[in-house]
Symmetry: C2
Subunit: 295 residues, 2 copies
């Protein structure tokens, strides 16, 4: 199976649900805020996290509906993190996916609040919009708040990344940063599917391993693309990692070994799902896409 065969359809379902969850016609007081939230939410993201969630649900229980709602919580968190990371005080990025960043369009105050609102809304979506037994909702809230927070989630990774700038590239620090900054949320995306679908312990563990390997492959490829691609192809400033002396896979291992490592993680991701047989076909196609993408 090729991910392009089903990806467009899944992405469209996600876009429609995001449009419902963050409506354009907000009450007057929140109108500008919602415009800022929607500006970043509909800026052309690949929706990799919600897609992973939806396809993990399909791998566990192909007949279960409604996964698109909790899946959107992951995209809300991801989008908030991009808005805050781009702020002048943090990475100070003017462009993201080829468009001016949120604070360039709406100002810093609104960008900070739009990020806060997206983060908060993610938990609202899980607790008030997701059709699932309360036990599963509570476990998803626990998973998301751990993956997005501290001391081992996304925010901790962002701090380690900031503090790591200019330090000697080091394999242990690289792993710490990656695991927290992008790995935790990507793994949570797959786990969300397992939790929503009520997977047993063995399936949950297998999907978690898949999420770790696919997440690591994603990050390695991201770092490689920052070196090999043009800003135009990426829709953001290329070569910024090297300029800011970020600790990346190419910086620590070189480009050739980084390519090998990405392929190896793809292989391990596939092995994790042996027990799923044909039910894993779409997740494996996504893992291929992660490694083969060019932007």
């Amino acid at each position: 199976m090729n991910a392009r065969e089903f990806l467009g359809e899944v992405q469209r379902a996600i876009e429609a649900e995001l449009d419902r969850l963050v409506p354009a016609d907000a009450p007057h007081a929140a109108r500008t805020l919602h415009r800022a939230m929607r500006y970043s939410l509909f800026a052309g993201g690949k929706r990799i996290r919600p897609v992973l969630c939806i396809e993990a649900v399909r791998a566990v229980d192909p007949d279960l509906a409604g996964a698109v709602t909790p899946a959107c919580a992951l995209e809300l968190i991801h989008t908030y993190s991009l808005i805050h990371d781009d702020l002048p005080a943090l990475d100070n990025d003017d462009f993201r996916r080829g468009k001016p960043t949120c604070h360039k369009v709406f100002g810093e105050a609104m960008a900070i609040l739009a990020g806060d609102a997206l983060l908060t809304l993610a938990f609202r979506v899980l607790s008030a919009h997701t059709q699932a037994p309360a036990e599963r909702v509570a476990r998803m809230v626990a998973e998301l708040s751990e993956a997005a927070g501290t001391p081992s989630g996304m925010i901790a990774g962002q701090v380690a990344d900031l503090e790591g700038e200019g330090k000697t590239p080091d394999a242990a620090l690289l792993e710490t940063i990656h695991r927290a900054k992008t790995g935790a949320l990507l793994r949570a995306s797959v786990r969300f599917g397992a939790l929503y679908a009520g997977a047993g312990m063995e399936e949950y563990a297998a999907l978690s391993r898949f999420g770790e390997h696919a997440g690591l492959a994603f990050q390695i490829v991201d770092d490689i693309l920052d070196v090999e691609q043009t800003s135009e192809a990426l829709g953001k400033t290329a070569g910024k990692d090297a300029e800011q002396k970020k600790i990346t896979f190419p910086a620590v291992y070189g480009l050739e070994r980084s390519h090998e490592m990405a392929a190896e993680q793809r292989r391990l991701a596939g092995e994790s799902l042996h027990g799923f047989g044909e039910r894993a076909a779409r997740l494996l196609a996504l893992a291929d896409l992660i490694v083969e993408r060019t932007a």
Copy 2:
């Protein structure tokens, strides 16, 4: 009953739990971040929100233990909102409770991330640390994410407040701002107690009304103090509302009428809890304290 008789003890229990939930000895990567979070968390707040939660639990079920944990989630949200509100792009405040604000000490990047981490941790505390049936946890997550978010919660109120600066003082806009910016989280604090204790519909509704009236009294008094008190007494810059042309109760109704309105809200708060009899004694003492405070 006088709130000072029990307040110190409740506050100490909250401080101890916050210390446990945001430990000083975080893993290396998150150490600076946790220092920034703790700096603002232990800056001398009155803990009014968690105290309201704990006392609402006592009003419903005096024998139920463990309320201090979900109560702390409210303080984490409150603290995050102060850190972000104080940022240069928002209210640009250098002092809070007599101490330099978080971004003055740790820099803007760390202050933004510390706020994000506190917000995220609030949901972690509810889902992973609170000992309650999953149905109650899910309802608390729903309540908190609504009260803290958009379109009718704290963030929407902050936006309306920012956009209202300089507009003609107007009773309708004042009510919109207050309800969202501080009212929603204060009401949620009381509701948290009702939800945690498994209150019936009638008790839940009565406690909600109490939360609304006590919350409104709190905001009116806050606005009055900004006019009547010195910066030294408040521990923050006094008179800032007028300088920034904020829409406040004294600006709309004048000081004398504002005092009357605060007293009226205190009376209505008391009426809401008639059905609780003696079990409401501590909540009523807190309502007195809210109206009579001088800082």
